[in-house]
């Protein structure tokens, strides 16, 4: 039973560029959330997708956008990259939509470095 898978594992981009990160949820899950984890910090909620729509959004600018596909996989897009966007980006999946006691299942993340 495959868990949450993310690609790529590492990525190096230049300021101003755009990046796309990908996530496949755990089998049986159809809700995907994205988190940004800066070095030495806890994960910060970016947004959550369910039924191909953004359901909730954290305090992130519009440069951060996403998409969910009919097979429940998801993409995170970041435009006009800033140095401060360097972080570990975590994808988490859960049962639809996370009800009481439904935990998040995380992938290993994508390490994005912006130079």
């Amino acid at each position: 039973d495959a868990g949450v898978t993310q690609s790529p594992t590492h990525l190096i981009k230049t300021r101003g560029q755009q990046v796309t990160l990908r996530c496949s949820p755990k089998s049986g899950h159809d809700t995907v959330s994205w988190y940004q984890q800066a070095l030495g910090q806890g994960p910060q909620f970016i947004f959550q997708y369910y039924e191909e729509e953004e359901r909730q959004r954290g305090n992130f600018p519009d440069r951060f956008s996403g998409h969910q596909f009919p097979n429940y996989s998801s993409e995170l897009n970041v435009n006009a990259l800033l140095l401060g966007d360097s972080a570990l980006y975590l994808c988490a999946s859960s049962s639809p939509p996370t009800g009481r006691g439904s935990p998040l299942h995380f992938g290993n993340g994508t390490r994005l470095t912006v130079t």
């Binding site: 910090q41 806890g42 975590l90 859960s94 939509p97 006691g101 995380f106 290993n108 993340g109």
Partner: protein, 113 residues
């Protein structure tokens, strides 16, 4: 409003001695609470969860946590630390609707041989 406070940024214990990682929460509603562990350059793994059933929750790898409403605490404990327990630990709170999970800033656990 809700938030999570992990009272110690770093904890160091000797192998074989007890572990205590402290977490306090604030929530306007009855929360769901979780502990996750993160090893270097890895994602987060669920250790245990509290969802208003038994207040003493047992998790994986010998960890357990006790929900104390009067103290708004959810401390993580283990009777005997193992070298493989060295990692970052996060306390997490979620509202009833569960659409957002709020993470503490993490506690780094070091286990001394």
């Amino acid at each position: 409003a809700q938030s999570v406070t992990q009272l110690d940024s770093h904890v160091s214990v000797s192998e074989g001695t007890p572990v205590l990682l402290r977490c306090n929460y604030s929530s306007s509603y009855s929360p769901s609470l979780f502990w996750y562990v993160q090893h270097p350059n890895k994602g987060l793994q669920l250790l245990l969860k509290y969802t208003s059933a038994a207040t003493l929750v047992k998790g994986i790898n010998g960890f357990e946590a006790e929900f104390k409403k009067s103290e708004t605490s959810f401390h993580l404990t283990k009777p005997s630390a193992h070298m493989s327990d060295a990692a970052e630990y996060f306390c997490v709170v979620s509202l009833y609707t569960g659409n957002q999970f709020y993470f503490g800033t993490g506690t780094s656990l070091t286990v001394i041989p």
